[in-house]
């Protein structure tokens, strides 16, 4: 028997290491180490209820397991074959406990292609990857297919770049393969996941590093490169560790290095570390960073395929894009192209987070609707609140609203709705979130991360942030709203790289979808979500106020006036919104509007 325990970042942060240790101790004390084995896997996706423990072969799925539960799991389940019912997932709608994860709403509509091995294998053991077809696609490419045939297959599959813009991967490879034939070329994996609220690439690298290595080798074979580089955030120590282990094991097995599988094809992979700059997700900036320089983008053309790393032809793809390659080779382009919509094939991994019941990592076929994601997979909005918006595409994307709930999700429909696919962050917001404050949050991020090279991004975004701050401070005018729109349009048209060209998107999409809310902030000085502190008003309910004077005595600026035993009032002009009065009132007479 195998006891799979999630060793992803979310579960590890929730003490899954201690669960693993406790399970191992119990196995030893019952002398069961030959019979059952604890396997540390990558992310199962259901981070909301972590740490997750899954028992194979019966597929029992335990949630929120604590180290103290280990004894019962071993003694009841492993020894006596009885499930520990209190640890099973309980479906919120039917109140029934569900033992096999495939019957859970969270997993029912998911289709795991890129994440196929996450949660099934021990990522630090190459044999487990090989047992699930790892490196079979590389073998097939090297021995049965020409580079042209592989590229044709990828083109036919319709796979598009999962990093954000959605450029067809096969076309990209073809351009790189025809560029400066015979020279040294490079294959680069972009693992600089900087989008706040997105953890897809990290989970993939932590859960299934071999798929990425395999796909990079296939790409090297196609474009004629013998060197691969993975540019990964230094903030991802676990992913770095697992990649290092995987590269070493693959080299030992002759699946990387010289003369792979005896075919004469050489391919080696090295890691390069990012150092915390969001702009390095842009491919030209990433290449400069790998060369040891400031990660500033440059004009395209020349494209990396013509002149990239060290001036050589370079192909850059994102982690999730690579994760799809081996499956396409193994199962065929037609199979892959049968999934998804007309122009967006396959699946997409999203990091579902925010005000939703089931936070986690999900993979869904293209063309699924937001409603299915939020209400079926995600289990609806937390606390029964009202859905307001979902943000996709991070700082480059926008907000989708109720009217988009039934739009099939693909690259083109998201752009048409004023957002973008992005790398896959999906943040759900409810009625308590202020959309002006959200736009301000993203602009704050962009201003921090702008590299400063081009003026529209360096100065323009700063002005956008200032105007948004003015509005949330209750000092905005209608002219400010016009300025936001105009300035956004200019930045989009004139910024140098993808970061600047998309940075106004959060502003534009919230203006388009929540115009009323902006106007309310400006004309009525009101924030309906109650998020903008400067627009909050403390008021005393005269029916509840006993006139005890506690609030008036506590107010540091003397803004509360009134006669003893008579209702008091707060002078809004003097109030500094410190909230002291609300704490002092014993009668619940003071509230925040």
């Amino acid at each position: 028997m195998h006891i799979l325990v999630c060793g992803g970042t979310g579960c590890t942060a929730n003490a899954s290491r201690e669960v693993i240790d406790a399970l191992n101790r119990e196995l030893e004390s019952h002398d069961l180490t030959d019979f059952a084995k604890v396997v540390v896997t990558g992310c199962f996706g259901f981070c909301e209820r972590g740490p997750i423990v899954k028992i194979i072969p019966d597929n029992t799925f335990y949630t929120q397991v604590k180290p103290s539960d280990a004894k019962e799991i071993i003694e009841e389940h492993i020894i006596k074959g009885r499930k520990v019912h209190r640890l099973l997932y309980v479906a919120p709608d039917t109140n029934e406990s569900i033992s096999d994860s495939k019957h859970m709403e969270f997993y029912k509509k998911q289709l795991r292609i890129a994440l196929r091995n996450c949660g099934f294998i021990d990522p630090e053991n190459i044999d487990e990857a090989i047992a699930r077809d790892g490196y079979a696609a590389l073998g097939k490419c090297l021995t049965e297919m020409t580079p042209e045939e592989v590229i044709a297959e990828i083109k036919k599959s319709g796979l598009r770049g999962r990093g954000g813009a959605g450029f067809p991967t096969g076309v990209k490879w073809e351009i790189a393969s025809k560029s400066r034939v015979g020279e040294q070329k490079y294959v680069v994996c972009n693992a600089d996941e900087g989008d706040p609220g997105a953890f897809m690439d990290r989970s993939l690298l932590e859960g299934d590093p071999h798929s990425i290595l395999e796909a990079m080798a296939i790409c090297g074979y196609c474009i004629g490169a013998s060197k691969g580089l993975i540019y990964i955030r230094a903030e991802y120590p676990l992913a770095i560790h697992r990649l290092q282990v995987a590269i070493k094991q693959a080299e030992e097995y002759g699946l990387l290095g010289k003369n792979i599988l005896g075919t004469g094809f050489d391919f080696e992979i090295e890691l390069r570390y990012g150092a915390g700059a969001f702009v390095c997700g842009e491919e030209t900036a990433l290449i400069h960073s790998m060369e040891g320089k400031r990660g500033e983008p440059t004009f395209k053309p020349p494209f990396p395929a013509q002149s990239g790393y060290l001036g050589k032809p370079t192909n850059v793809n994102n982690v999730e894009t690579y994760a799809n390659i081996p499956v396409i080779i193994n199962k065929g382009a037609d199979w892959f192209a049968s999934i998804g919509t007309e122009k967006s094939k396959g699946t997409k991994v999203f990091a579902l987070a925010g005000k939703i019941n089931n936070v986690g990592l999900i993979e869904v076929p293209m063309g699924i609707t937001l409603r299915e994601i939020i209400y079926e997979i995600g289990g609806g909005i937390k606390g029964g609140k009202k859905f307001k918006a979902v943000q996709t595409g991070g700082p480059s994307g926008g907000c989708l609203t109720e009217k988009h709930l039934d739009t099939p999700i693909d690259y083109d429909s998201l752009v048409a709705a004023g957002s973008m696919m992005g790398s896959g962050g999906m943040i759900v917001m409810d009625e308590d979130d202020c959309m002006v404050a959200i736009a301000k949050f993203y602009l704050g991020f962009t201003v921090d991360e702008s590299c400063g090279k081009c003026t529209p991004c360096r100065v323009g975004n700063k002005r956008l942030l200032e105007i948004l701050t003015k509005i949330t401070d209750g000092k905005g005018t209608m002219q400010d709203l016009e300025d936001l729109k105009n300035l956004s349009a200019v930045i989009k048209d004139t910024a140098l790289c993808g970061l600047g060209q998309t940075s106004p998107n959060p502003v534009l999409s919230t203006i388009n979808n929540f115009w009323d809310e902006y106007v309310e902030h400006v004309t009525e000085k009101k924030c309906r979500a109650g998020q903008c502190k400067a627009l909050k008003k403390y008021v005393i309910d005269p029916d509840k106020c006993k006139g005890c004077t506690a609030c008036a005595r506590a107010c540091p600026v003397g803004a509360i006036t009134g006669v003893v035993k008579n209702p008091h009032v707060i002078n809004q002009l003097d109030c500094i919104k410190c909230g002291t009065c609300i704490e002092k009132c014993k009668f619940g007479a003071i509230s925040l509007n």
């Binding site: 979310g10 942060a13 706040p196 150092a275 060369e291 040891g292 320089k293 987070a353 959200i438």
Partner: protein, 161 residues
């Protein structure tokens, strides 16, 4: 450049030389060299950057340009316990700012600051990747999740020594 004026010891000088040499004094490896150097010193003060520049045969301005560009590199020493509050979107919508405010109030420092006794430093970061536990903060790599401002005092008390 600013930063505390430390005089560099012979041992530290040799350590930097050794790190640079392990990358063949190749300026293309500058970021990897700075990672290793920061691992050793905890931060990258002016003198250290000067030695790196000398070893690689490049102007110190080039090293400073890289150090100041990337948020992972710091020219100020961190506290004994480095606190990082996640301000990724998932944490933000779940109230990470309120937690950050509580920490600032409790420690009486602002973002990027270090307490006078050098015990705590406070930074923000963009996504730990534990969005299921939002809002999240880390102290020397240990993750604390599902935070509310009221937790702050309790957690800091764990580090009373």
């Amino acid at each position: 450049m600013c930063g505390p004026q430390i005089k560099i010891s012979e041992a530290n000088y040799l350590k930097i030389k050794e790190i640079c040499a392990s990358f063949n004094n190749n300026p293309g490896e500058l970021i990897n060299i700075l990672h290793k150097t920061q691992d050793h010193f905890g931060y990258l003060p002016e003198e250290v950057q000067q030695v790196v520049a000398d070893c690689l045969g490049i102007p110190v301005g080039k090293v400073y340009g890289v150090v100041s560009f990337y948020s992972f590199f710091t020219m100020k020493p961190k506290g004994k316990y480095a606190i990082s509050v996640c301000l990724g979107t998932a944490c933000y919508v779940k109230g990470a700012e309120k937690v950050l405010d509580a920490l600032k109030k409790e420690l009486n420092i602002s973002e990027g600051g270090v307490t006078e006794d050098g015990k705590f430093s406070l930074d923000v970061l963009r996504c730990v990747g534990a969005c299921g536990l939002a809002p999240v903060m880390t102290i020397n790599g240990k993750t604390y999740g599902r935070l509310v401002p009221e937790h702050v005092k309790e957690i800091l008390a764990e580090y009373a020594d």
